[in-house]
């Protein structure tokens, strides 16, 4: 059985009226679900209070937290369900991080092609310059 865990990033915004304990409860609930399903938590990043770009449910502030973890696909839906049911969570987002490797490969390929093209252009220019120099020397003779 291969390891089907994938790298995910979970971010959520909690109501500013919530106390520190409430915030901890939400984080612990997410962490517990992941650990129960043999997931691995890489990082828990607490940004704290910050201003929102637009008011959500009449609040101008929110408490941000981001969690990166390796977990299976089934856990994804469990976390999604939990966060939806929680009234203190105003916004949440879960997205995969490992599919960025595909994009990165495409980009590296593109950059290699660009480098080859630019090198060829420089070489052609250099050849052109050499030819013109030779012609000049011949003229002087």
């Amino acid at each position: 059985m291969p390891n089907m865990n994938r790298n995910y990033e979970i971010g959520f915004v909690i109501n500013p009226e919530a106390t520190e304990e409430d915030v901890k409860k939400v984080i612990d609930s997410v962490v517990e679900i992941i650990k129960k399903a043999n997931g691995n938590i890489e990082n828990v990043d607490e940004w704290g209070r910050r201003r929102l770009a637009y008011p959500i449910k009449g609040h101008n502030e929110g408490i941000y937290t981001f969690i990166t973890a390796d977990m299976g696909g089934a856990v994804f839906f469990e976390i999604e369900r939990r966060l939806k049911l929680n009234e203190k969570v105003m916004r949440f987002i879960i997205n995969r991080l490992d599919d960025k490797m595909k994009k990165a490969n495409r980009l590296t390929k593109k950059w290699k092609r660009m480098e080859r093209l630019s090198k060829r252009n420089i070489e052609e220019e250099a050849i052109a310059v050499e030819i013109s120099d030779e012609e000049k020397e011949e003229d002087y003779e």
Partner: protein
């Protein structure tokens, strides 16, 4: 822009000179950025208008691969309230 005005003939040549501008390049390709993160919202603010609209690639000069990532990142940042949604233009009150 240069491709549009590359018609041959004297008139085309003059037009080329008239519309000459510095060539745009992809900022992300220059810095070799492979992945655009939506949490880096201060960088994303450079690619939206004051009204919140996403600038097209032909204005900013970003390549297609990066523009695709950029639009997705901006939309995610909007959902998480890092950036604002598009605001309608205010009508003039006379």
């Amino acid at each position: 822009m240069s491709n549009q005005n590359s018609s041959s003939g004297p008139s085309g040549r003059y037009q080329k000179k008239f519309y000459f501008s510095r060539r745009k390049y992809c900022i992300f390709c220059k810095d070799k950025i492979k992945f655009i993160d939506y949490k880096n919202y201060k960088m994303l603010e450079n690619f939206i208008l004051e009204t919140g609209k996403i600038l097209p690639a032909r204005v900013t000069g970003t390549c297609t691969l990066h523009q695709k990532q950029l639009t997705k990142a901006i939309k995610r940042a909007r959902h998480m309230a890092f950036l604002k949604f598009i605001e309608p233009k205010r009508e003039r009150v006379t």
